[in-house]
C-alpha cells in the first residue's frame, strides 16, 4: 500500500521539466544496475528451470541425455493413474497433518513456559533450538541410532514402561511416526522462537490492566495471551504446513535401504523417478503435480487469512 502511494507521488514529481527527465533516465539505469545481479541469477536459476521443467514434463527426456521427444500429456496421464504417486501424496499429506499438530502445540507450550522468565533462559533456548541447527544428515544418524531395534535408546525407554521392543524404522506400521518424532525434535525450536518473538510483542499494558481487574494467571492466558498470539499461530501453522509438505531429507536418510511404499513422500518420488529411475520427463510431471498442490494449499491459506482479516 505504501509502495503504491509512493509511486503515485513519484510520478507526479517526475512529470514536467527535461532536467528531471534525464534524472529519471539516469535513475532508471542505476536501478537496473542494482537489480541486474539478482535478476540474472533469478532468471538463470529459478525462472528458466521453472519454464524448462514444464517443457521437460511433456517429453521423455532421460537423465543420460537420451530421449527428449515430445510425448504430449502422456507423463501427466501416467502420473494421475500412478498408484505410487497417489500413495506418495497421501503419505505426504498425512505426515503434514500428524507433524504440524505437535510442531505447533509443543512450540507454543515451550514458548509460554520460557516466556515466564524462569531462571536459565539461555539453557532453555539452547535446548529447544539447538536441534534446528543440525544438518538433516546428522539428525538422521542420531535417530537411526536411537531407533535401532536391538540396542537403541528408544526401545530401552519404552521398555522401562513395560512396552515390547519395536522395529521402529523397519516396521511399515511405525516408521512414519518414527520420522514424525525425529522431525518434531529437530524443527520445533524454529516455531518456538517465532512464538517467543510474538509473545514479546504483546504490550505489557494489557497484562497490567488485567491485573488491576484482578484476573488470575489462567484468565490472563486465555483472555489475553492466546488471543494475542492468534495471528502468529495462523502464520506458524501456514509455514509449518508448507515445510512439512516438502518432507524429504530425514525420510530418505532414515529409511535408506528400507523398501516400502508406505513412507515415500512426494518429493522423494520426484527424486526417485528422475535420478534413480532416470526419467527426467516423468519426474518433471510429478514435480508439477506437487507444485500444484503447494499452490492450492498456499492460495487456500491466503484466502483464509484475508477473509479473517476482512472480518475483524
Amino acid at each position: 500500500m505504501t509502495a503504491a502511494t509512493e509511486t503515485r507521488v513519484a510520478r507526479v514529481a517526475t512529470r514536467p521539466s527535461s532536467a528531471t527527465a534525464t534524472r529519471a533516465g539516469r535513475e532508471r539505469l542505476v536501478s537496473w544496475a542494482f537489480l541486474a545481479p539478482f535478476l540474472v541469477a533469478f532468471a538463470l536459476f529459478l525462472v528458466w528451470p521453472l519454464v524448462h521443467g514444464l517443457y521437460l514434463s511433456f517429453t521423455n527426456q532421460s537423465l543420460t541425455g537420451a530421449g527428449g521427444s515430445w510425448v504430449g500429456l502422456e507423463n501427466y496421464r501416467e502420473a494421475l493413474t500412478d498408484a505410487t504417486m497417489w500413495r506418495a501424496l497421501r503419505t505426504t499429506v498425512w505426515f503434514t497433518v500428524v507433524s504440524t499438530i505437535p510442531l505447533v502445540l509443543i512450540a507454543l507450550v515451550m514458548a509460554l513456559l520460557v516466556h515466564r522468565g524462569l531462571p536459565g533462559q539461555w539453557l532453555w533456548r539452547l535446548s529447544f533450538f539447538m536441534p534446528f541447527l543440525l544438518a538433516s544428515t546428522v539428525i538422521s544418524q542420531i535417530w537411526v541410532w536411537i531407533f535401532n531395534p536391538d540396542i537403541g535408546a528408544a526401545n530401552s525407554v519404552i521398555g522401562a514402561f513395560g512396552i515390547e521392543p519395536i522395529a521402529w524404522l523397519q516396521d511399515p506400521d511405525t516408521n512414519l511416526y518414527a520420522i514424525v518424532i525425529a522431525t518434531v525434535w529437530w524443527t520445533v525450536g524454529f516455531n518456538f522462537l517465532l512464538y517467543l518473538a510474538a509473545l514479546q510483542n504483546i504490550p505489557d499494558q494489557l497484562y497490567e490492566a488485567a491485573a488491576l481487574d484482578g484476573a488470575g494467571p489462567w484468565r490472563r492466558l486465555t483472555s489475553i495471551t492466546l488471543p494475542q498470539l492468534w495471528p502468529a499461530t495462523i502464520l506458524i501453522v501456514m509455514l509449518q504446513i508448507l515445510a512439512s509438505l516438502k518432507l524429504f531429507d530425514q525420510a530418505y536418510q532414515m529409511l535408506i535401504g528400507v523398501s516400502t511404499d508406505t513412507t515415500r513422500p512426494i518429493v522423494q518420488y520426484i527424486y526417485e523417478a528422475g535420478f534413480v529411475g532416470y526419467r527426467f520427463g516423468y519426474s518433471s510431471a510429478i514435480s508439477y503435480v506437487f507444485f500444484a498442490l503447494i499452490i492450492i494449499v498456499g492460495v487456500f491459506q491466503m484466502t483464509a487469512m484475508n477473509r479473517r482479516r476482512s472480518l475483524s
Binding site: L35, H115, L126, L134, Y207, E208, Y271, S283, S287
Partner: protein, 285 residues
Amino acid sequence: MRSPQTRSPGEKRFGVGRVVAFAVLALMAAGWLMPFLWAVATAFKTEPDAATESGWVGDDGLTTEAFRAMLSNGNVWIWALNSLWTSLVITVLTVTISALAAYAFSRLRFPGRRWLFAVIVAAIIIPPQVLIIPLFYEMLTFNLIDTPWGLILPQIVAPAMVFILKQFFDGVPVELEEAARVDGANRLRVFWSIVLPLSRPIMAAVAIFVFINAWNNFLWPFLVINDTHLMTLPIGLETVIDAHGIQYAQTMAQAVLASLPLIVVFLFFQRQIIRGVATTGFGGR
C-alpha cells in the same frame, strides 16, 4: 527485542505455578537435550561398547578413539572445509545481490517496478524441490556437475530475502540519504556508507539465516556432487561410508563434529540468531 519479562505482573516470586512451570520446563529441556547428549556419549565409547546395550559410559570407560579414527580419515577435514567455504560464498553472494535488488525496489523509480517485485514475491512459494530436475539438466549443459560453482550458484537466489530486506529499507527514513545525495554522493556510495550501516542487524539476520541453510542443505549438493573431494559435510556423511562397515561410535563422532561449528556460533551469537530467525523466519524456510 525486549528482554523477557521476569514475572507476570502480580505473580509471586516462588509461587506453586512457578515451581510447576520450572519442573515441566526442566523436563522438556532434558528430553530435548537427551538425544544429542546420547550421541555425544556414544561418540566417546569404544566400538564394542557402542554396539552393545550399555549406559551413558561404556564398560571400557571414556575414550577419544572414535574421534581420532575419524580425523585420521582425511575426508572429514575436506568436507568440513568445503562446507565452510561454499557456505560463506553462498552467504556473501546471496546477501549482496538480495540487498542491492531490495534497495532498488525500495528507493528507486523505474518502469515495471511493481510487477517485477510482485513476480519476485510470488516466487517465494516455489519449492526448490520442484526445480531439481531442470536445474540438474542446466548444470549438465553448463558442464557444472561435480564443480563448486554447480553447487553454489543455484543456492544464491532467495526471493524471500529480497522481500524481507525491502520491507526493512522501506522503514528506514530517507532524509539521511537525501542529504548525502545533495552533497553529491552517488547511489552506490549512499547505499554503501549510509544504508548498509543502518541495516546491520537485518543484514546479520539474513546472513545468519542463509548461512545455516547453506551449511545444512542436503538435496541440491547431494544431486550435483558425486566427487568425494568436493562433497560438503552433510553429503559426505550420508553417502560415503567406512569400508569396514557401520561403526556406531565413529558415526556419532562425525555427527557431533559436523554440528559443533553451528552450536558454537549459536552460543556466541544467541541473541542475534534468535532475532534473525524471528525476523526472517516468517519469510519461509
